[in-house]
């Protein structure tokens, strides 16, 4: 990683993407990704409207499908791999996830405590009546 004074040029490469793949293999990768993504999307729409499964599990199922969707995008389109040349990308992803987790988690926690201590105006009005 430290000797990157000259990055091989020629055709556009995503950072960390290996060069040796042939065009066919690369197209295949994108097609597999596209099919998986479409499948997951279709399943989400199907689950949302169905009564085949236990109703309260639907939100959980949607979350799981959404996370799987993110995984598909990361692997097939953004080319996150576990290869040694991909360390930067994986670290960046981890840092991004950490920040999102801290900010979103912290916000939910803070705001729920705030609302507990100082209910919004309409709730106070309802408490009075």
């Amino acid at each position: 990683m430290s000797d990157q004074t000259h990055i091989p040029t020629g055709h556009d490469l995503a950072p960390g993407e290996e060069e040796q793949h042939s065009v066919g293999e690369r197209i295949l990768g994108y097609v597999v990704g596209l099919v998986l993504a479409l499948l997951l999307t279709a399943t989400s729409f199907f689950i949302a409207g169905t009564d085949l499964v236990w109703q309260p599990s639907i939100p959980v199922a949607l979350i799981v499908l959404a996370i799987a969707q993110m995984g598909v995008h990361l692997v097939f389109f953004l080319h996150i791999t576990t290869g040694p040349d991909n360390t930067n990308n994986v670290l960046a992803l981890a840092f991004g996830l950490l920040v999102v987790f801290l900010v979103v988690g912290g916000t939910v926690w803070i705001m729920s405590h705030l609302n507990g201590n100082m209910p919004p105006m309409d709730q106070i009005m309802r408490m009075r009546t």
């Binding site: 990055i7 991004g96 950490l98």
Partner: protein
């Protein structure tokens, strides 16, 4: 046709902004006429405005920051005078004007002074320290700078056309909402930050990529100079925090423009969400500013002590720890908002924890100095002044991190004194240290030491005389942002603070004098070696100012303190190099993309503020078309032939060799 804009937008009844605006306008016109008459326009356009050279862009960032420092400083002087005279009287500034001034002061000092100053220094120095020829995305770099300039321009236009926000530098709703701020002030604030925020974000992406992807041979992570590490940490924070600011301001703008209810009092809006989100950006922001300053001090202390930085690895660890923990403390800005004891306790503890890596850094600098042969040149004076001042600011910071104490001190002058203590004592002293330290590298001559030292002592003393009284006034119960007051006990401290402001201003004048005197004596102060301070990192290995390609060869790094290493090896072995094989160098072509993009962004921003919709579309289309034209370019690089590289490099080597042999003869 012109939306909300008409003649009533220009405040004919308020002489202060009108006169100030007129003076600035005359000055700008005079400079423009001078440039055109003297025929400097082509030079300015070819060498600076369209330049994609990271050094030139860095210099322009710092120039922008310096000009805006004068503007923000004038606001500060006006506020100090107002509070000194407004005891049991209205003073000389009416409330709505006073409120605009403190809002503009905060906004300008953070977004258009501190940010461009540190980004400018990072731009100027980091590629040189890494031993590479440019940043990762040179044209994007230029776009980033010009968008920042657009933001600054809009803030300054608000002085004479319309008004600026009266809401404080973070524009909290519901005050900043449409019902309480129906004017264009908040729109000026929000759009200038949105546009310059894009600029900051691309600068951040650029510098992260540069540090991660472009390093010279052998420059692995643990051999990078400390300033590169802090640049990496700071820009990681920019990339992850600035989108929060953009999203928050976007929601505020939706409330104001399209009748949404994110942060309104009615219809399910939640004003507290704004505080939460803006501080989730705001706290990382202070570390975005201060981390590069820490890097500058590391470089300066190590160079002027003649020693390698003590505890390099602990310094790296401390930097990255701050980078992560800075995202876990934002609630300490609103302990009093009512989240309750559990939440307050956790965030209070996290805020105290973040003082630990900072303490590690202070000890590392002290131990670097210990046993070193210290030279008290101006950059070193700023660094030592920083250590003393920043410790006081850090300690008062830990004090307000204790929630019960914060309930007493929240929104008081004590808090004002605290954050000026860390931002002036940390960021501004760091920026000045870096300015003095790297000026010879950027321009090829040193700055006058006598004026520099005078500037330091006046600024240092002036800072204490101004802000220590504010701590006391805060303890006496004075709240911030008071346009007038009736408490006799506060009065003396306000007068002392105003006197301190005068001393600080003398410091600023000294700094301007230093620049004038140094430019006049530039032949005597010329730096021929490229290494005026006996430096340790790679930026000193090339000439001052560096050639456009920085290095004729990519330096080969074999350890920490790369250039120091080379110098020692050169002394041990013979000084003669084998004759090197020069090669052609490809450099990116200059591009007006950044300037034209920013031109259209300025039009769009101004039109959005005044609701001139056809002009918004025009500006947006123009900026997009500029981008498309750039994307369809054919040639973006030109070749500097090997002979030219050889010629430039030989001149540099000759200079160095003759100086070395002269030193040997003496």
């Amino acid at each position: 046709m012109l939306g909300k804009l008409d003649w009533s937008a220009i405040p004919f009844d308020q002489p202060i902004p009108l006169v100030a605006g007129a003076v600035v306008l005359v000055a700008i016109l005079a400079v423009l006429i001078w440039v055109v008459v003297k025929g400097h326009l082509p030079y300015l356009w070819d060498e600076w405005i369209t330049s994609v050279d990271h050094k030139r862009i860095g210099v322009m960032y710092i120039l922008l920051a310096s000009v805006m420092l004068l503007r923000g400083g004038s606001d500060a002087i006006m506020m100090r005078i107002q509070q000194a005279v407004a005891y049991q009287s209205q003073g000389y500034l009416p409330p709505e004007h006073y409120n605009q001034i403190f809002s503009a002061h905060g906004t300008i000092m953070i977004f258009f002074v501190a940010m461009p100053f540190v980004i400018g220094l990072m731009n100027l120095v980091v590629p040189l320290q890494l031993g590479v020829r440019d940043v990762a995305f040179p044209t994007l770099n230029s776009v980033g700078f010009w968008l920042t300039a657009t933001g600054a321009l809009l803030v300054n236009i608000s002085l004479v056309v319309g008004e600026f926000a009266r809401t404080g530098w973070l524009a909290f709703p519901p005050l900043s909402g449409l019902s309480y701020s129906p004017g264009v002030g908040v729109d000026y604030y929000a759009w200038s930050l949105q546009i310059s925020g894009v600029g900051t974000l691309v600068a951040g992406i650029n510098l992260v990529t540069t540090v991660l992807k472009l390093r010279t041979r052998g420059m692995n992570y643990l051999r990078m100079p400390m300033f590169c590490w802090t640049t990496l940490a700071s820009n990681l924070l920019i990339v992850s925090a600035f989108p929060i600011l953009t999203a928050t301001l976007a929601m505020l703008l939706l409330d104001r423009y399209l009748g949404f209810h994110f942060f309104t009092n009615e219809a399910g809006g939640n004003v507290m969400m704004f505080m939460n989100l803006i501080w989730a950006w705001g706290h990382p922001e202070v570390y975005i500013l201060v981390l590069p300053a820490f890097g500058i001090f590391s470089e300066v202390v190590s160079t002027f002590s003649g020693k390698a930085l003590f505890g390099y690895r602990s310094m790296v660890l401390a930097t990255m720890a701050i980078c992560v923990v800075s995202f876990m403390v934002w609630l300490h800005h609103f302990f009093t908002m009512g989240a309750g004891p559990d939440v307050n306790a956790i965030f209070g503890i996290a805020s105290m924890i973040i003082a630990i890596p900072t303490g590690v850094k202070i000890y590392n600098w002290l131990f670097t100095m210990y046993g070193g042969r210290i030279r008290f040149a101006t950059p070193m004076l700023w660094s030592v002044g920083f250590m003393v001042t920043f410790i006081i600011g850090g300690l008062t910071g830990v004090l307000v991190a204790v929630p019960p104490a914060d309930f007493m001190l929240h929104n008081s002058m004590f808090l004002v004194a605290h954050f000026h203590n860390v931002i002036i004592g940390g960021v501004l002293f760091g920026a000045f240290a870096g300015f003095e330290y790297w000026f010879p590298k950027a321009f090829g001559f040193r700055l006058d030491e006598r004026w520099g030292k005078a500037a330091f002592w006046f600024t240092f003393t002036g800072f204490y005389v101004t802000f220590m009284p504010l701590y006391i006034a805060g303890m006496l119960g004075m709240t911030r942002r008071l346009q007038h007051y009736d408490v006799a006990a506060w009065r003396p401290w306000m007068i002392v603070a105003a006197i301190g402001m005068a001393v600080l201003s003398i410091g600023v004048i000294c700094q301007i004098m230093q620049l004038v005197v140094s430019i006049r004596n530039r032949e005597a102060l010329r730096d021929r070696t490229g290494d005026p301070w006996d430096g340790r990192s790679l930026e000193w290995a090339t000439s001052s100012p560096p050639p456009v390609f920085n290095f004729a060869f990519h330096p080969d790094v074999r350890g920490e303190d790369a250039y120091w290493d080379m110098k020692t090896r050169a002394q041990q072995q013979s000084f003669e190099h084998d004759v090197p094989e020069y090669q052609d160098i490809e450099m990116p072509r200059n591009s007006p993309t950044g300037f034209i993009c920013a031109f259209f962004a300025s039009i769009m921003g101004f039109a959005l503020i005044w609701h001139i919709w056809w002009m918004v579309i025009l500006g947006g289309l123009g900026a997009f078309a500029t981008f498309v034209v750039f994307a369809w370019r054919d040639h973006d690089e030109y070749v500097i032939p090997a002979e030219e590289v050889a010629r430039i490099d030989r001149i540099n080597l000759e200079e160095r060799r003759s100086l070395v042999s002269m030193a040997g003869a003496v």
